[in-house]
Subunit: 251 residues, 2 copies
Amino acid sequence: MSLENVRSFNLQRAEGGICRTSGMSVASCTRCKVRALAICDALRPEEVNDLDEIVRHVSLDSRTTFIREDDPASVVYTISDGTVRFYRMLADGRRQIFGFGMPSDFIGLTSGGRFTFSADAVTDVALCRMERGSFERLLGEKPHLMHRLHDYATHELVLAQEQMLVIGRRTAAARVCAFLLAMRDRLARQRGPSVMLPLPMSRLDIADYLGLTIETVSRIFSKLARERVILIIPDGIRFLDQETIRRRAED
Amino acid sequence: MSLENVRSFNLQRAEGGICRTSGMSVASCTRCKVRALAICDALRPEEVNDLDEIVRHVSLDSRTTFIREDDPASVVYTISDGTVRFYRMLADGRRQIFGFGMPSDFIGLTSGGRFTFSADAVTDVALCRMERGSFERLLGEKPHLMHRLHDYATHELVLAQEQMLVIGRRTAAARVCAFLLAMRDRLARQRGPSVMLPLPMSRLDIADYLGLTIETVSRIFSKLARERVILIIPDGIRFLDQETIRRRAED
DNA sequence: CGCGGCCTTGAGAAATGTCAACTTACGTGG
DNA sequence: CCACGTAAGTTGACATTTCTCAAGGCCGCG
């Protein structure tokens, strides 16, 4: 391991902790395209107005860091568009990405009043921002929302445990294949099944999610492409032989 | 990686899914020693009777498997005594332990109606068992309990992410040191600080928790002992130089 | 006293990381 | 529109960590 693991992440800084508000941001939750998948779905149509009261729609440029580890967790978000990465870093620059947030994902499960992770926009991103106080008041009034949030947290826990298994006990090639399948399944739930898989995150992001180096990830992508299991296209891949990927994900 | 990763885990089987009921099992939640640390603490003293109505106290011999992956998640538990391991296994015998359950821990955060992990008693164990239906009814009646459970789930998620960082980005020695410190802190919350750390789980369990092999864990324990950083004692260790362990946990 | 389970240690193998060079893609300014 | 500069990705050669396999030690229990 190199002593100083210096890497340039080339990040923007979100001004004053809040991000520029986009022109699109006045849209109402009523017309939200991802509501059915988000925790907001727990509210009945007539309750959605209560959401509009506390939501501020914000847009972030790609590479913007909008949550920093140890920040007071005074806001929560729902992602309405784009991809986000959640991570922690070690003093020497090593980074572990905990997951990628996609539209409908909730951001704000924290313990002890502070964020235990940082978050950046991987692509341009649109978020619904709520003050934590307002959100918790709403939770108190709407048991269904509380219940839905708890289900979400539990699901995230199951995913985190699955990822522990992937990182702790699978070979490098299996991790990459498991990642591709998990991303495909996630996207399918949003937009239906497809052999095209957009991958907005970089190889370095994938490496830091899987506990590998960028070179190892790159070699495995190349090998899969050479064997005609996937086709590498700009910002994504196309699945050519899903059965082989499924098999490799087990190793 | 060996093709067949055969290991003998030497397990008992819990009869009929339920375990022998011990003589001690009639004790009431009112006198429970771990209630203050468990989610039950969310209930006011006069509400604890509602718990007694739905709790069955059960005892398990060490090595008993009492939850199997994919079982319908029809019960939940709180651990009142002993140590439990939670894990998933791959087809070839590789195992990832997600965590060790200790007194006051809740068991039953599941998504989709089935357990996504297995659980064994590491030591003899005492559990409070509740039918999931009864427990969820209670949750519905007691918003404070629901809130407390959600906090518990969120905390578990934060711990799982921390463990992802440990497994994905730390060296073998750092993983072992981080494990020792985490176990110490956890025990300290229960019984106050101590330089004595009992380790009821085997080296194999520790290896499967840290994504390492038993040999690697053993070598690191030996090295720490040779350097007088820890003292290895039967079923545990004694900390001799905590500063060094803290430093090593960062590598 | 002997057996089985767990732990330890050593030697060599394998997987993955490191370092360095090179290619490709893309946006910007001349 | 081209040329350049930068960031991202790829590939090769070599280093290192961790794993694998094998042997032996320790200890509690029948």
